[in-house]
């Protein structure tokens, strides 16, 4: 009975949504409002006035940078939510979690050690290259976070923790939000609005520098947050 009710509710929600989506302009048509209204300016002027050759980066970090500012706060909020609901005592994360001292396969440890530097270099490439091609801080940060998790699993919890020293950890976790607020306030003080970039064509290097600062902030913050959420969930209560 309960199952039937659930299915009925889902169908009742699905039918109007599907009907509405079916009546939208055909996906990918050149004459769609989504392609004719705002996008032409982004495509034609983006690289020149917003600072990055990759138009997606222009929209994410410049035209609609305030949205991304909010998104990095969402990620930060998720971290604080995990810490606030899972931690029960001080220094909990520093303690060795159960099973951490069990013997590991030497093959796995060797392979991970061998590929780790390459993964690290690749994340740097992704973060910096988001400027020109797909990629950027979010992607690079995620992969770097995964690398730290991989190292904590194979080379030991202590080794993983040592990559993000305890004194600087809260700063690293807040890096993305702090980078946005720093660039935002610079724009507010120098260019007339929060998150505004200098508009003179001679100052292109400043625009690029601020974009790269944001990408690095997002990458560092993302990696620190992913690793910390993992350690928090791993820690014994």
């Amino acid at each position: 009975m309960k199952r039937i009710a659930v299915i009925a509710v889902l169908v009742a929600a699905f039918v109007p949504l599907a009907a509405a989506v079916a009546q939208l302009p055909t996906f990918g048509e050149a004459s769609n409002p989504t392609n004719t209204y705002l996008v032409p300016r982004y495509l034609q002027k983006g690289p020149e006035e917003a600072g990055a050759a990759n138009v997606v980066t222009d929209v994410i970090l410049n035209y609609r940078g305030y949205d991304t500012n909010g998104e990095v706060v969402v990620i930060f909020t998720a971290l604080i939510a995990a810490l606030a609901t899972l931690l029960v005592r001080p220094k909990q994360m520093a303690a060795t979690p159960p099973g951490d001292d069990a013997p590991r396969s030497p093959i796995v440890s060797f392979v991970v050690k061998a590929i780790a530097p390459f993964i690290a270099v690749f994340t740097v490439y992704l973060v910096l290259h988001g400027h020109l091609s797909p990629g950027g801080g979010f992607q690079g940060g995620t992969i770097f976070g995964a690398l730290i998790i991989l190292l904590s699993l194979t080379l030991g919890h202590k080794y993983g923790l040592s990559l993000l020293p305890e004194r600087s950890r809260p700063w690293l976790q807040a890096a993305a939000v702090l980078a946005f607020i720093a660039v935002g306030l610079l724009g507010w003080a120098l260019c007339g609005a929060y998150l505004a970039y200098p508009s003179y064509s001679q100052l292109e290097w400043v625009r690029e520098g601020w974009l790269i600062a944001l990408e690095i902030g997002i990458g560092v913050g993302g990696a620190a947050i992913f690793a910390t959420v993992f350690w928090t969930m791993e820690a014994e209560p």
């Binding site: 109007p16 939208l24 410049n62 810490l83 702090l178 609005a193």
Partner: protein, 492 residues
């Protein structure tokens, strides 16, 4: 310097304050509380200045990143956005109250994170209130929802995790409805700016997707606002959360759903008024049912916080009914009730928190006689109760009166009856409470020996109670303040 350039500061100040809170509170948890209080004070000051600017000069916009909308994101400060001053003011008092409260309730390691989440939550609400962009509203909706879920679970009491999870599941579904509807509107207009969406919707086709977007947005926002029958998550979450959190969730966070609905209606009144009568009819009926059901369930609650939680559902009903009536008086009353109910409910939840802090009891039968040992707190609770019933000259009277007038104006007398009925039910359960507090002998030793709450709690409570009385006497000011916004929305 033009005052409008301050608009982003009202969001950035609490955000920056929030990310620095774990660092400030690393060695001493008490520092995190004082820091959060200072940040809240600064936010409230900026918010008040901005509202004063609206009162002097009318609504204004701010172009984020100096990009003209619709290419960039617009912040929009209008009379509905005046809620930022209310949010700031109530957050200050709640933070001050919370300092002693959480030291007793929470694990020490979690205290800095508590303040971080409170500030993030405030920043989310403020960012939502001043946003002029549909997707940007969604981003801030997520910040405030996510921090809200964690704040419910933070004390880890009894069913806290379960209540938080229920809140999370329903909240996530409602966010998806909002996001999908924003997507639908973007697909047919190609823009996300609220004013621009309204302009570009006028005269285009796509009747069905636009109607479904309206339904999805209002559905999503009414889950956040806990309108009956979408209220199932609220009673547990608001009861089990630490009292300062209950105050913020019940007084402010549910109002974000109402504010979101108002923003959506601003678009549709301008662009597609023909699609609104059906929706308005449903909102008015659901509001009326909410009023009666919320008040009815509240009567049978033993737990005072549970009672207050159901009373929130009832009051959200008043607001949605006022919106659904679609008449000037109804909308003005509903808008002002957003502010007044916030003030009253924060007063009541914090007073309940002070009582729980001193006695450890939360059931009415256990709390008999508490009025004798905690005179100040109980007096504040009584003022709050009188206000929420809507007895003149308290804050609750004028807005409920306006909503009833709105029903008469819309020629729907049935709904005016619902207003009266709701008030009667509410009167019954608050009489029960006042009777237990003042006129019964204590049954529990911890109540008989309790003392008045510390000054850092009684202080904010007295200010709040004074606010409840003052808003009753000066009730005309907010009413005439929001009137232009309502008239503009209705196109009159």
């Amino acid at each position: 310097m033009d005052g409008t350039t301050l608009l982003p500061a009202v969001v950035v100040v609490p955000l920056l304050g929030a990310v620095l809170t774990p660092i400030v509170g690393r060695t001493r948890a008490r520092m995190a509380g004082l820091w959060a209080l200072a940040v809240a004070c600064l936010t409230a000051a900026v918010g008040t200045a901005l509202v004063a600017l609206v009162a002097l000069r009318g609504p204004f916009s701010y172009e984020m990143g100096a990009w003209a909308p619709p290419w960039g994101i617009e912040l929009r400060m209008d009379e509905f956005g005046a809620s930022i001053a209310v949010i700031g003011f109530l957050e200050v008092l709640t933070m001050l109250f919370a300092i002693k409260y959480v030291e007793k309730l929470l694990l020490p390691v979690r205290i800095p994170y508590f303040y971080t989440l409170m500030l993030l939550n405030a920043a989310g609400m403020i960012g939502f209130a001043v946003s002029g962009d549909l997707f940007n509203m969604f981003v801030f909706l997520e910040i405030l929802s996510l921090s809200g879920y964690a704040l419910v679970a933070i004390a880890g009491e009894r069913i806290a995790e379960m209540a938080a999870f229920k809140y999370l599941a329903l909240g996530a579904v409602s966010s998806l409805f909002v996001l999908l509807s924003v997507g639908l509107l973007y697909a047919v207009t190609g823009t996300l700016n609220i004013a621009d969406v309204a302009k570009r919707l006028t005269g285009t086709g796509y009747a069905l997707p636009v109607a479904v977007a309206l339904a999805g947005l209002v559905l999503g926002f009414s889950v956040k606002a806990a309108l009956f029958p979408l209220h199932a998550w609220l009673p547990d979450a608001h009861t089990i959360a630490p009292s300062p959190v209950s105050a913020v969730l019940s007084g402010l966070v549910v109002k974000v759903g109402v504010l979101g609905t108002l923003r959506v209606l601003q678009i549709y009144y301008a662009a597609r008024p023909q699609q609104l009568p059906v929706l308005n009819g449903m909102l008015a009926w659901l509001g009326a049912i909410s009023i009666v059901m919320g008040a009815f369930f509240a009567i049978f609650q033993e737990d005072i916080k549970m009672m207050l939680a159901y009373s929130t559902i009832s009051n959200i009903g008043y607001i949605f009914m006022g919106i659904g009536l679609g008449s000037t008086y109804g909308l003005i009353g509903a808008t002002v009730h957003i502010f007044n109910h916030a003030l009253i409910k924060v007063t009541l939840f914090l007073a309940a928190g002070a009582i729980i802090y001193r006695t450890g009891c939360r059931n009415l039968t256990d709390l008999r006689g508490v009025g004798r040992v905690m005179p100040w707190t109980s007096a504040v609770m009584t003022v709050g109760a009188l206000s929420i019933v809507g007895i003149p000259p308290t804050a609750g009277f004028l807005c409920k009166w306006y909503i009833a007038l709105g029903a008469v104006q819309a020629d729907k007398l049935m709904f005016a009856v619902a207003v009266l009925f709701g008030a009667l039910f509410i009167l019954i359960y608050y009489i029960r409470m006042v009777n237990a507090f003042y006129f019964r002998e204590p049954t529990r030793p911890e109540v008989a020996t309790a003392t008045e709450a510390p000054l850092s709690m009684v202080g904010p409570l007295v200010v709040l109670a004074a606010g409840c009385l003052l808003m009753g006497v000066l009730g005309r000011i907010p009413l005439s303040f929001v009137e232009p916004a309502v008239l503009r929305m209705l196109g009159q």
